[in-house]
Symmetry: C2
Subunit: 127 residues, 2 copies
């Protein structure tokens, strides 16, 4: 397998330093709202997949994640954001669909900007 589908787990690094003597500094960032996990790598990837694929079910499948898990993540994200980052309808010929609101798009973009700064910082760290 060329690229792992499930490369967004908890222990997985978001950034890493340039290797020196086989030793690398690895790191991970996430956002908390009122002390509760709000956005992390995996969650932001999920949001992007929802945007790209148009449904929570398809997004979950593409990440080899259980639908119920993806669904509860979306519920948490919307609740903690205090507004909908993901909107959806259900019913209809195609069963329903889900999409990112403008606030959702902003959150995704903002997270990746933060990650980019982190990657830049960590690149210059050494042990």
């Amino acid at each position: 397998m060329a690229v792992k589908k499930k490369d967004h787990g908890r222990g997985t690094a978001l950034a890493s330093s340039l290797p020196a003597a086989g030793m690398q500094v690895k790191g991970r960032l996430w956002l908390e709202k009122d002390g509760e996990a709000f956005l992390s790598w995996g969650r932001v990837v999920l949001l992007e997949r929802i945007r790209d694929l148009g449904s929570i079910a398809a997004a979950a499948r593409s990440m080899e994640m259980a639908y119920s898990h993806a669904w509860s993540m979306v519920a948490d994200i919307n609740r903690l954001a205090g507004e909908e980052l993901v909107s959806r309808t259900f019913g209809g010929r195609k069963g329903g669909r889900a999409w990112l609101t403008p606030a959702g798009e902003k959150a995704v973009a903002g997270f990746w900007q933060l990650v980019a700064r982190f990657q830049e910082w960590i690149k210059h760290q050494q042990f």
Copy 2:
């Protein structure tokens, strides 16, 4: 309980930004050697406890960690370092003891220096 004893788990942040609107940037760093986890917060705390308490068993107890888990962490750390960061003897009146080698002390100090830089960086990040 004033201070949690087990505050060094995988999902626990090493650093966090100043809270803005209830939203905080949290982060975690670790070191990998040849792609395998080498030093992380929990492992470095374990090394410090070994230094302070003089045995792996006492260190594990103080962190409410199973001895067998602490023991295998020490084995991994020494293996990945390519030299002993923790030395030990066994047998004797007091059963045996463990201590940090100079290389072990250096590793602990170096890790906290890295963490300090990380905390300084993340403090100024915002989402």
